[in-house]
Structure formats: structure tokens, C-alpha cells
Amino acid sequence: MTHAHVTSTGLDSRKLAFWTFIGSECLLFGSLISTYLVYKGRSVRGPTPHEILNIPVTSVSTFDLLMSSLAMVLALAAVARGDRVWARVWLAATAFLGLVFLGFQAYEFTSFVHEGLTITTNLFGSTFFTLTGFHGGHVAVGVVWLLTLLVRSFQGKLGPDKALNVEIAGLYWHFVDVVWIVIFTVVYLLQ
């Protein structure tokens, strides 16, 4: 998979596969988000979303994730122009901001549990934890992926010829970010 093949469309095969994968993921998150919306307001007992959701805190974590996408763009640009130092800085920054987001989520989840909302409490709990948990799982996979790229960079194996590897990781990262924007809007802002 090291050298580029001539393809019928001119698009790299891995990139095309990844776009197809993202299309498929849209249906996955679409099903989760639709279920959340269908079950909204149908819990037979509390806590309800407006009793428990902390919009200011989540706005900060949302901003954090948005900034990670910016760092990702800069990381790709650095790899593409062969700038090893900044490639490492921005890859590390992206991964770090992803970890911070996961930290916010861990804090949010534990505080909800303390306030009496678990995945079994009511429909809101089941749909909320499943939806945001699926998203958090995707962020975690992304962080591991980014850290892997970082290690490859330190091994000296992430030159400009490997920019496509970073670009695909970036596609994934931006997609996960966009999904969060939708979740933040649907779950937190449109109560």
C-alpha cells in the first residue's frame, strides 16, 4: 500500500473507502440521534434534560473539540510540507484536545451518576448515555490513531509521502467533530 496506484477515478482508493465509511457512519449516528429525538420527553420519571444538562461546561468542551479540528488541519499542513517539528506539535495538540474532551465527558458522566441519572434510570438516560457514549468511543479511537501517527513521526516514518495517512485520520477527526456539533445542538441547545 506504499505506492500510489492509478485508479479509474483518480481518487486514492483508501480515501474513497473512507468517504464510504463516513457515509455509513452517518446512518449509524443518524439512527442514534433519531432515537434520542423520538424518545425526547417520554421518560416516565426524572431527572429530565433541563434539570441536569450543564450547557456552559459542555460549551467549553465543544469549543475544545472545535479547536482540535483546527490543530488537525495544521498538523496535516505541517506533515505535507515536511515540517517534522510542527507536525509533532500539532498532532500532539490534536490528541491532547481530544483527551481533554474525553475528560469533560468523564466528568459529565460521573456528575450525572451522582445526581441520579444512569443509563438505566429512564429513557433520557438510556438514549443520552448511548448516543454520547458512542461519540466518545469514536473520539477515543481517534486519539489512539493520532498518538500512533505521533509515534510514527518520532520514528521518522511520517514524511510528506505519508501525508495521505494523516489526511485520512483528519477526515475521521473532522467527521467526529461535526457529529458532535449535531449532538450538541440537538441534545443540549434544543431542549
Partner: protein, 607 residues
């Protein structure tokens, strides 16, 4: 061996070379053989069902066993037989039809197969896993029906391991289908030989492409439905808990949003096969090629807008019922268009009634009957009478046995010489066809009446006062005939592998690219990448440059990899851990998976 049987396919031998293979042809054979074994198991389940129903008040099997038999029969035939039998052709034929040397991601392809195999073994292990899991009975097979309606599947109503096997097994199989979906979309879009424009693709390849788009969009939906069910059962969530405000229709919507596109996932590939077989044995190009392609695309798109016709009896209200009745009747139009194109293809052609051709004709005839009964229950008032009766069972078997399975057999007889280098025996083939054809009509046609006269499906017995004993007996005899026909096929396959006539490159005088190379093809498929100048390369006046038997320059053939099978094994262990509710097994499976993914990503492998 005769001179035309290419040596390359047999050059790498031994069990290890099969386990690590990334050759699309070998993976195709693995898919085909494995799926055929599952097809036999599913068929055996069907025969037990029919023997139980041969007479009223029969007690051959218990009600509990009967539930397991019909659930596993449906699940097996859909996910472990028809889908992977089609996948065998995707794997073997599609790269040959587009002039490629392999699929876009050979290792991902191997991974798909191994995940499918482990998922199938996992599901079927439930038949004997009872004692290990501490259950009272030997078999703890899934027993809630192939569409597993909530809340029959809840812990409260299905406390045993049965539904756990189902909910985990289907998720594992979903991974296999999704991975294959991405792979084949990219293969068909990106790996076409020069000159192989989209509107020159053989119809089988086109239908494969549409099918894979349906797979990658429909499977995520059922995955989420299954995840909800798994969480409900394992962690006590409320998705399908009515007492917590949950709605049972959520499952039905998620299932059928997947389930109806799945119908087209099952039938479009056989439609593609028939569109290859009919022109070859009519010696005429397919009538209205573009229309057939566009109809297939339209079916793929419209297949997303009809799912609630499976839910007329739940009372969605007159407006949704009317809308879904309308879309369901509309989707019959592109399907009907295809039928007329096939008929027009034969019109004035030089027909040769080979076994493959007979199966293609059988497909058309039986699919029309299944389609007509389908349009009947597109009408909600009629459907209310037919829901959950044997009428629906008759419909689905005309479509999936008369349609999909006969189409697949047409493909087997058609491409067998390409895959093995030898022709199948035509006499045995025609015996297979006629026994199966008579058998299926005896088995399934009476079911229309059995259903309309009021016999419900999925009930393990019936009273003599219904007066349905003789019709049911006829149906059972038909099922046994189908069983005999499959034995004839197996004998034919066994015989022809050893004594079949040598096929040569193109025994049928067929038009498409796969017939330009030796049978079976060498490991690299094409000694030089073909340059396609027309839609029917072997039939058109502008001849493409011949493909030499010996490559003018050495061809790189990717070696094997054992990481795909290890990764798939990790998934199997993970599912087993989830079944046992044992965290360390889950973690062990996940660890194996992660190690395999990293080793896979960093091993040197060139396509």
C-alpha cells in the same frame, strides 16, 4: 490435467495458504463452500419444520424446538446462505469482469470472510452450547423469529442465552458485510481496466455495486437496533421497555428500515446473474442495458421508502398506510421493467437451454409469482388478512427460493467452468433443476391457500378441524423433493470436479471479460491489463487486444497475511466474552483485535 486448466491457482497449496490467502478467487471459493454448508444446515432445519407440519397434532419436535428451528432457518438462509453465496460471486467474478487483478483491499476481503465464518459458527454453536452454559437443554438456539420483535426478545420474556446468541451473532455478521461493502464499492469504482466505463460494466457488476451501497447504508441501522437490544438485555436500559415509556415500534422501524433494503441486497445480485446468463444463452445482447441498470439503481433508492409495509397490522393510521402502500406498488414498476427486458432479450434469440439457462428462466417465472403476491399484500386491507399467515411464507419463498436461490444456481452452473476449469454435468444439472422446480412449487404454492384459509405461521402444530392436513402434506413432500434436488447438485459438483469436461477459456461463447482468460484464471488474472473498447468485448466487431497466456513481464502477486484471520478471531472471542458476561474474555478478544490491526497496518504488503 488438460492443457487449458491453468496451473497458477493450484500452485500455492496447503491449508495454511488458504487461511492466509488474500486472493479474491480463493476467498470467493471459501465463501461459496462455507455458505453452501450453512445452506444445507438451514435446509435441514426447513425439512424438520415441514416434517413436523406434515400432519395435524404432530409431535415430532416440541414447540420450543420448533421456535428455534424457524428462527434459525430464517436467520441462516438470509445471513449465512443467500448473502454469502452472492458474496462468493462478488469475490470471484467482479474483479474478472472489470479487468482487475484483485479487489481494492485484499486483506480486508479476507477479514470479511473470516468474520462471516466465525459469526456463522457462533450462531450455530447455540445448538449444542446448552450444557456448557448451564442450561437445561442441549440447544439454546435463538427462538424469537428472524425479525426478533421486541419485547419478545426482552430479558423478561426470553431469559435464556437464545436471544443473546442472536443479538451478538448478527452484530458480528454485520461487521463482515460492512467491510465487504466498502471494499467492493471502491473496487468497482476505482479498479476498472482502462476503457471500462461505468456504462460498459456488466449488469452483474452493476447490481453488485448497488447492493453494496444498500449494505453500507442499511447495516448501520440494524446495528443500532441490535445495540439497543443488547444494552436492554445486558445493562438494563429502557429502549424497548414499555413500562419506562419505551416504544416497541422503535425496533420494528429500525429492523424494517434495514429489512426492506435487505430484501434487495438478497435479490439484486441474482437479478444481475440472470442478466448475464440470459443474453449468453440467447446469443443476443441484453435488451435495454441502460434501462436495466437504471431500474436497478431506482430499486436501490426506492427500497428505502417502503419499509412500513411490514407494519400495516400495527395500526400506523390511514395516512402512513396509504403512503407506504403507494410506494410499495410503485417499486413493482422498475422490477416489472426488468422482467420485460429479460423477456425481450430472449425474443428472436438463438436459445440454448443449458442448466444455467433453465435456472434463469425458472427465476423469472417464480419471481413473477412472488412479485404478484407481493403486490397483493402491498394493499393494507389485504395485508391485514395475510399478515402472520402462511400466505406471507409462500410469498417470501417464491421470492427468495424461486428467485434468489434459483438465480444463484444459474450463476453456479454458468461460472462453475470458469472457477474450476471443468463443465458440470448437464444431465444431472437438468435433473437438479426439474426436481427442485417441481419440489418448490409443491412446497410453496399450497402455502398460499393454507395461509388464506387461516393457518398462522410460526405455530408448531394445527388442529385437524382446519382441514389443512392434505395441503400441508403436499407441501412437505415438495420440501423433501427440494432436498433430493440439492443432493443431486452435490453429486454433480463432486463428479464434475473429477470427471467434468475441460472447459477452456469460454465454453459458452459469452460476451464479457472474464471469459477472455483461462479457466480457472491464473493468480494474477490478466497477464496484461486489458484495454476495453466496447461493452461486450467478445461479441463486438471492434476487437480488444488479446490477452496473452504468458505474461510478457513478471506480475507481482501479493503474498498472504494471517492478520485478517487473527483480527476476525479477536472479534469472535469478544462476542463470546459478551455472551458469557465475562470481562476478561471481552478484553482478551479486544486485545487480540488491536494487536492484529496494528500488525496489519504495519506489515509490508503490496497490492
Amino acid at each position: 490435467m488438460a492443457e487449458h486448466v491453468a496451473p497458477a491457482a493450484g500452485a500455492r497449496s496447503g491449508i495454511w495458504s488458504w487461511i492466509t490467502t488474500t486472493d479474491h478467487k480463493r476467498i470467493g471459493i471459501l465463501y461459496g463452500v462455507t455458505a453452501f454448508v450453512f445452506f444445507l444446515i438451514g435446509g435441514l432445519e426447513a425439512l424438520l419444520i415441514r416434517l413436523q407440519l406434515a400432519s395435524s397434532q404432530n409431535d415430532l419436535v416440541s414447540a420450543e424446538t420448533f421456535n428455534q428451528l424457524f428462527t434459525m432457518h430464517g436467520t441462516t438462509m438470509v445471513f449465512l446462505a443467500v448473502m454469502p453465496l452472492s458474496a462468493a460471486f462478488f469475490n470471484y467474478i467482479v474483479p474478472l469482469q472489470i479487468g482487475a487483478r484483485d479487489v481494492a483491499f485484499p486483506r480486508l476481503n479476507a477479514f470479511s470472510y473470516w468474520v462471516f465464518l466465525f459469526g456463522g459458527l457462533f450462531l450455530n454453536a447455540s445448538f449444542i452450547a446448552g450444557p456448557i452454559l448451564g442450561a437445561d437443554s442441549l440447544s439454546v438456539a435463538p427462538d424469537a423469529g428472524w425479525f426478533g420483535y421486541a419485547n419478545l426478545t426482552s430479558r423478561a420474556y426470553s431469559p435464556g442465552f437464545n436471544v443473546d446468541f442472536w443479538v451478538l451473532g448478527l452484530q458480528v455478521l454485520g461487521i463482515a458485510s460492512l467491510a465487504a461493502g466498502f471494499n467492493f464499492i471502491v473496487t468497482i469504482v476505482n479498479l476498472r481496466a482502462p476503457g471500462m466505463r461505468l456504462m460498459r460494466l456488466p449488469v452483474f457488476t452493476w447490481m453488485t455495486l448497488v447492493t453494496q451501497f444498500l449494505v453500507v447504508t442499511a447495516f448501520p441501522v440494524i446495528t443500532i437496533g441490535l445495540v439497543f437490544l443488547m444494552f436492554d438485555r445486558f445493562f438494563g436500559t429502557n429502549f424497548y421497555q414499555v413500562s419506562a415509556g419505551g416504544d416497541l415500534l422503535l425496533w420494528q422501524h429500525l429492523f424494517w428500515l434495514f429489512g426492506h433494503p435487505e430484501v434487495y441486497i438478497l435479490i439484486l445480485p441474482p437479478m444481475g446473474i440472470v442478466s448475464e446468463v440470459l443474453p449468453t444463452f440467447s446469443r443476443k445482447p441484453l435488451f435495454g442495458y441502460a434501462v436495466v441498470v437504471y431500474s436497478g439503481l431506482l430499486i436501490g433508492v426506492m427500497g428505502w421508502g417502503v419499509w412500513s409495509h411490514h407494519m400495516f397490522s400495527v395500526g400506523l393510521g390511514p395516512i402512513p398506510d396509504s403512503v407506504f402502500a403507494g410506494t410499495t406498488m410503485l417499486i413493482a414498476i422498475p422490477t416489472g421493467v426488468k422482467i420485460f427486458n429479460w423477456l425481450a432479450t430472449m425474443w428472436g434469440g438463438q436459445l440454448r437451454f443449458t442448466t444455467a439457462m433453465l435456472f434463469a428462466l425458472g427465476f423469472i417465472a417464480m419471481f413473477v409469482i412472488g412479485g404478484l403476491s407481493g403486490v397483493m399484500h402491498a394493499s393494507p386491507p389485504a395485508d391485514l388478512q395475510q399478515t402472520d399467515t402462511y400466505f406471507v411464507v409462500a410469498h417470501i419463498h417464491y421470492v427468495l427460493f424461486g428467485g434468489a436461490i434459483q438465480g444463484i444456481f444459474a450463476g453456479i452452473y454458468y461460472w462453475w467452468p470458469k472457477m474450476t476449469g471443468r463443465l458440470m454435468n448437464e444431465r444431472l444439472g437438468k435433473t437438479h433443476f426439474w426436481l427442485g422446480f417441481v419440489g418448490m412449487n409443491l412446497a410453496f404454492f399450497p402455502m398460499h391457500f393454507i395461509g388464506l384459509l387461516g393457518m398462522p405461521r410460526r405455530i408448531y402444530t394445527y388442529g385437524p378441524e382446519l382441514g389443512l392436513d392434505s395441503l400441508n402434506l403436499v407441501s412437505t413432500i415438495g420440501a423433501l423433493l427440494i432436498g433430493v434436488s440439492i443432493l443431486v447438485f452435490a453429486a454433480n459438483a463432486w463428479w464434475s470436479l473429477r470427471h467434468g469436461e475441460t472447459a477452456g477459456n469460454d465454453p459458452w461463447g459469452a460476451p464479457s471479460l472474464e471469459w477472455t482468460i483461462s479457466s480457472p484464471p491464473p493468480a494474477y488474472n490478466f497477464s496484461v491489463i486489458p484495454e476495453v473498447v466496447s461493452r461486450l468485448p467478445r461479441w463486438s466487431r471492434t476487437q480488444m487486444r488479446a490477452i496473452p497466456d504468458v505474461p510478457p513481464e513478471p506480475v507481482h502477486v501479493p503474498g498472504g497475511s494471517f492478520w485478517p484471520v487473527i483480527a476476525a478471531l479477536g472479534i469472535g472471542v469478544l462476542a463470546t466474552g459478551a455472551l458469557l458476561h465475562t470481562l476478561w474474555v471481552v478484553l482478551a478478544g479486544a486485545a487480540v483485535l488491536v494487536v492484529a490491526i496494528y500488525a496489519w497496518a504495519f506489515e509490508p504488503f503490496e497490492v
